[in-house]
């Protein structure tokens, strides 16, 4: 396919530790476009979530009535894996549905919300502090320019855009060391973040041969090749 652009991944993301791939393409028919739906799952023993110690900042403690769990691998009862980037890794630059104006990364109760966020190249990322306490937002990309912003009180918003595709950019708060998020910059529209049950949908994908890849900050990557048009349902499975 002419004009394909390969995503460049951080080295850590290339480590596929114990990952397996399960592909179930169904109902694929010849058509000018296709919808890829599916689910990212995790099998095996996930690390047990640990309660976050927020006692360093009383404000953060006061925002929660129950302990907040640090779930680096967030799995629902049926094995669905949340917060995973799913994208077509061989889609051409600029292809796909138009991006919205802005994508929000919020800080609520001293937790990044959502924990994973994807923007298109050039799209605006809004970083908001919804807490009445100081956060710094330290973004450390490899290909794009990083930044470290102090956001000292509720309501402050900063806006940034990125000019290079890059998967797995760490976002953290140095003051509250438990606060982590992951930012992805994709140069086309065929990407999404899985929901709480691990499900995802990639609509309006042109008929063709595509590689759908799932990326998780600690589990690595799994991918699946799809072909044709119409509809495809795939399951991308990480193993423990």
């Amino acid at each position: 396919m002419a004009g394909r652009t390969w995503m460049t991944l951080p080295a850590a993301a290339l480590v596929v530790a114990g990952a397996t791939m399960l592909v179930t393409a169904a109902g694929a028919t010849e058509s000018s476009s296709m919808v890829v739906t599916g689910r990212v799952t995790f099998t095996g023993s996930a690390p047990a979530p640990e309660p976050i110690d927020m006692s360093a900042d009383g404000y953060c403690v006061d925002q929660h009535t129950t302990p907040v769990m640090d779930a680096s691998v967030r799995i629902d009862d049926s094995g669905g894996l949340a917060g995973v980037l799913v994208y077509v890794s061989n889609a051409p630059s600029g292809a796909g549905p138009a991006a919205g104006d802005e994508t929000l990364l919020d800080q609520v109760g001293c937790i990044y919300t959502p924990g994973a966020v994807a923007v298109r190249v050039g799209q605006t990322l809004v970083v908001r502090n919804s807490d009445q306490t100081l956060h710094n937002v330290r973004v450390t990309p490899t290909l794009n320019r990083g930044f470290n912003l102090g956001q000292p009180m509720r309501g402050i918003e900063s806006r940034r855009s990125f000019d290079q595709p890059e998967v797995g950019i760490p976002v953290r708060c140095d003051i509250h060391g438990w606060m982590h998020a992951t930012l992805h910059v994709i140069d086309h529209g065929f990407h999404t973040i899985t929901g709480p049950d691990g499900s995802f949908e990639l609509p309006d994908l042109p008929a063709g041969d595509w590689v759908v890849e799932a990326w998780h900050p600690t589990l690595g990557t799994v991918s699946s090749q799809i072909a044709g048009g119409g509809a495809a349902a795939i399951e991308l499975e990480f193993g423990g």
Binding site: D53, M54, A56, D57, G122, T124, T133, L134, N136, V137, R138, N144, R145, G146, F147, N148, L149, G150, Q151, P152, M153, R154, G155, I156, E157, S158, R159, R160, S161, F162, D163, R172, C173, D174, I175, H176, G177, W178
Partner: protein, 376 residues
């Protein structure tokens, strides 16, 4: 770091836009410090500790006047506005330029300045760019390598290492070790025969040890007195020094001028203690410097062109005053601005047939601000 001009914040990414709550607008410097700084730097400025911190870099102690007094307000504001890396400091120091206005950052700094309660420490604004010849009034922690090369007349390449160590708010020890090579004068022709050309000889100049004391300062001016002892390490026939014990008392004055301009003045005398052979005479000298600092970009390299006027008079019959002009430019080499270069030329204004033109430079390392390879 050196004094620097102020600028406005730059975007570090492709684009940005900021929304700041109006509630920040009317708060005092102390209140803004509590909001934006105290979590890490501590309510008392001494640095906070927390198991939750995700960084290991040691936090500065704002109550330590030796640290807190040295840098000018402009550099503090630049770091607070654009983050630590803008001056080669920790990447853990975030940028507040989108959260606080310039006026708010200045009010926060005014509060930080209250943490150092000993006002005997001269403020960093008085640490003016160092000229090639004239001594500064501000006490420093520096290592300077200076070189002067004669471009005409008898050849000479004279270097000196200058080590400066500050003691307390006002004192400074200074040790100067000159060394180099000089072309010796050819012997006079004998009985009409041609003289052989002079030979280059190398060696040590007169080592000097001095003590500077910053006697007085206010927000824009500083006055110091210095006494030096010169040791006869050069040898009596060397062109690298006089080779006699001597003392050199002098006074220095630094003045901050509007628009990032500055001036230095120095006056003193060098008194040889052994004058039996009549070879070395007491010398009076006076020096004046005028300069101005420009910053390239908004937070970038500092360029400080200066011009020195030098006057010297040896106390002996028939001796006049030697006048020299030294145009030069000092350039900060790294982001932290503690490594500097100065290039200039010493131009005799009178007796130009007898006194050489000299190319001069120094390489300066303000070692209190960090290692030689830090902050680039």
């Amino acid at each position: 770091m050196r004094r620097s001009t102020r600028g406005t914040v730059t975007a570090t990414c492709v684009g940005f836009l900021l929304i700041v709550p109006a509630a920040l607008a009317a708060q005092s410097g102390a209140e803004l410090y509590d909001l934006g700084c105290a979590s890490c730097h501590g309510a008392d400025g001494a640095g906070a500790t927390s198991d939750a911190f995700a960084f290991d870099d040691p936090l500065p102690d704002f109550t330590d006047c030796s640290f807190a007094s040295r840098e000018p307000d402009g550099d503090w504001v630049i770091v607070a506005k654009a983050g630590g890396p803008i001056r080669g400091f920790s990447e853990s120091m975030p940028a507040y330029g989108e959260a606080f206005s310039d006026e708010q950052l200045e009010s926060i700094l005014a509060h930080i300045r209250t943490f150092c309660t000993n006002h005997a420490w001269p403020r960093g604004e008085l640490n003016l760019p160092r000229p090639l010849v004239t001594e500064k009034a501000y006490p420093e922690d520096e290592l300077v390598w200076e070189t002067r090369v004669n471009t005409d007349g008898l050849g000479a390449v004279v270097n000196q290492f200058v080590y400066e160590k500050r003691f307390g708010p006002r004192g400074q020890l200074e040790v100067t070790v000159p060394f180099g090579f000089a072309d010796q004068p050819a012997p006079m022709p004998v009985n009409g025969a041609s003289a052989e050309g002079g030979a280059w000889e190398g060696g040590l100049g007169d080592v000097a040890v001095g003590w500077k004391h910053a006697v007085w300062h206010n927000d824009a001016s500083i006055f110091s007195l210095t006494g030096e002892v010169l040791l006869p390490t050069a040898g009596s026939d060397s062109r690298l020094g006089n080779g006699v014990f001597a003392v050199e008392p002098f006074a220095t004055f630094g003045q901050v001028l509007p628009a990032d301009a500055f001036a230095h003045f120095q006056a003193g005398t060098e008194i040889p203690l052994d004058t039996d052979d009549g070879r070395v005479h007491t010398e009076w000298f006076w020096r004046a410097v005028l300069g101005k600092t420009w910053t390239s970009g908004e937070f970038g390299r500092a360029w400080s062109p200066m011009v020195e006027l030098l006057g010297a008079h040896e106390v002996e019959d028939g001796a006049g005053v030697d006048w020299d002009l030294v145009p030069q430019i000092q350039i900060t080499l790294n982001a932290r601005q503690h490594i500097m270069l100065n290039l200039g030329v010493q131009l005799p204004l009178n007796d130009t047939d007898e006194r050489p033109t000299r190319f001069m430079f120094y390489f300066l390392w303000d070692w209190f601000d960090g290692g030689l390879f830090d902050g680039w």
